[in-house]
Symmetry: C2
Subunit: 142 residues, 2 copies
């Protein structure tokens, strides 16, 4: 329960919106139950390849380090993952070892993150673990 | 307001969690206002490179097609984007043209999506637009 609560606790603005949506849901039975939920506007997706992919300790250390980035105040969402056991297809790149998806409101939020002491500390303390990093930044289109 | 409502309308399970979190927020003032919000467990991130990157019409058609995938019932979140105007760094790949991030509850949800008629229709009607596709599937680690 603690984890569930923590995951759903958001800014007061988001909490207000959640209340509004809950009210809207209660008021209407015509809303499709499968409508997708919101995502932050700016996605910052980082894929890491470990120097020692067979080291469970290195992987765990990198994952813990990435999770620490959630404390940066402009981070709106975080997903730390590993390759999923989806079907192997030619277009799927499952060669990476750790995935970090952060959501921001805007480019300024991502800029703040890049120079934040917690981000710099993360890079300093973990960059010896990876051999390659690829980053994709995507801005939502309306 | 319509857009805001629609974006935050989720499954009844999520709505329940939102209500629970709103209650928790009201009950506690010690929760950091910046705690990130939740993301689905399985991320399916697709990057498209257009055959004709200078064609605004092709780009718009692909974006509209990708957005249509939100109607598939196992899709929990969607973000359709283009390269963000973040700082150009060696590790950032901003050569793609359209980004599609879909969230699922689990691998089964993604499997359902892959064979769904709306997904097949999207591929059939849009694959002539792209020259390259790269997919990353990432499962959240606890």
């Amino acid at each position: 329960m603690t984890t569930t609560r923590r995951e759903f606790l958001t800014t007061s603005a988001l909490a207000g919106a959640a209340l509004a949506s809950a009210g809207a849901l209660a008021a209407s039975t015509t809303v499709p139950a499968t409508a997708p939920n919101a995502t932050p506007k700016l996605l910052h997706h980082v894929f890491f390849w470990l120097k020692n992919p067979n080291s469970a300790a290195d992987r765990a250390k990198l994952i813990a380090g990435v999770k620490s980035l959630a404390a940066i105040e402009t981070v709106r969402s975080i997903h730390v993952g590993v390759p999923a056991s989806t079907e192997k297809r030619e277009v799927v790149d499952n060669s990476y070892h750790v995935s970090e998806l952060l959501g921001f409101d805007d480019v300024a939020g991502q800029d703040t993150y890049q120079v934040h002491p917690l981000h710099k500390k993360f890079v300093d303390e973990h960059q010896h673990l990876w051999s390659k990093v690829v980053v994709y930044d995507a801005m939502k289109v309306d």
